[in-house]
Amino acid sequence: MDDDYYLDKIRKGNTSSYRYFVNKYKDMAFSIAVSVVKDEFAAEEVVQDAFLNAFNGLKSFNRQSKFSTWLYRIVTNEAFKRLKKMKKEQVVSFVDNYNHQAADKSSFASLNEDEQTYIINEALKRLSPNESLVLRLFYLEEESIKEVSQITGWSESKVKVTLHRARKNMYLIFTETLNFK
């Protein structure tokens, strides 16, 4: 596995090999950070701190999990630490009786690729940090429930509940944004 190869190189003193990890994981790390802090500049600082902390903590990485799981855990912790400082939260109210079957999704499908990307990311910004984080980890990075639990430090049941609520809230935001029937 490439990650193991470059880890061994770094442990032997070849610090420039760390660029491999920065290049490979920076985009997803940035996506995770934005999910939590909702601001690109703050997210960039979070990811920077996370990569530096990961480099300094490489000795403690025992390869019992994937490197990505370990790194994303660091990114998540840094992001929530930053969020505490920022004291920012954007929450959408959960509507218990929302029926996503009634939504007409043709409006969304008729948009072009860039517009769809924009609406999805704007919707994710409006979700709470926990919900947008868990959606990106589960659906975008395709981590399992167990891996999401390891990254966030939450119990698996909390991950499932948050995921379920996040999906419903996403549909709610789409409905509001695109005036679904």
Binding site: T15, S16, Y18, R19, V22, N23, K26, D27, M28, F30, S31, V34, E40, E44, V47, Q48, F51, L52, F55, N56, K59, H100, E113, Q116, T117, I120, N121, L124, L135, R136, Y139, L140, E142, R167, M170
Partner: protein, 114 residues
């Protein structure tokens, strides 16, 4: 159930569009530069720690030598019996050694040498 799985798959496809790319082009270079700087700083600190350890050992050795051999060389210092002077010296010496040893240990732990 089939509908739910189908919806879940569509949701998954939709979420693939949520991947963001790091918008700062020089991000990698900045990170690697910081790592290079911190590695060099750590190397310089390690050198200073080695010198500190050397002087700590020399100072402790010198203090022990004074404590053991001074009574044999001088019977009094400025009119004060050597034993009394040595008592104060030994207490101060032990406290200083413990204090400096604790500080050195913290420093070694901080840089992962212990």
């Amino acid at each position: 159930m089939a509908d739910f799985l189908h919806e879940d798959e569509k949701f998954r496809q939709m979420m693939q569009k949520s991947k963001l790319t790091m918008p700062f082009q020089d991000f990698e270079d900045r990170i690697m530069q910081k790592i290079e700087d911190s590695t060099q700083a750590k190397s310089a600190v390690l050198k200073d720690i080695r010198i500190s350890l050397l002087f700590f050992i020399l100072g402790a050795g010198y203090g022990i030598a004074i404590s053991l051999f001074l009574p044999e060389i001088l019977s009094s210092i400025s009119g004060i019996p050597t034993e009394e002077v040595l008592l104060v010296f030994r207490v101060t010496f032990v406290l200083l050694v413990l204090f400096l040893f604790e500080r050195l240990l913290k420093l070694l732990k901080k840089y992962g040498l212990v």
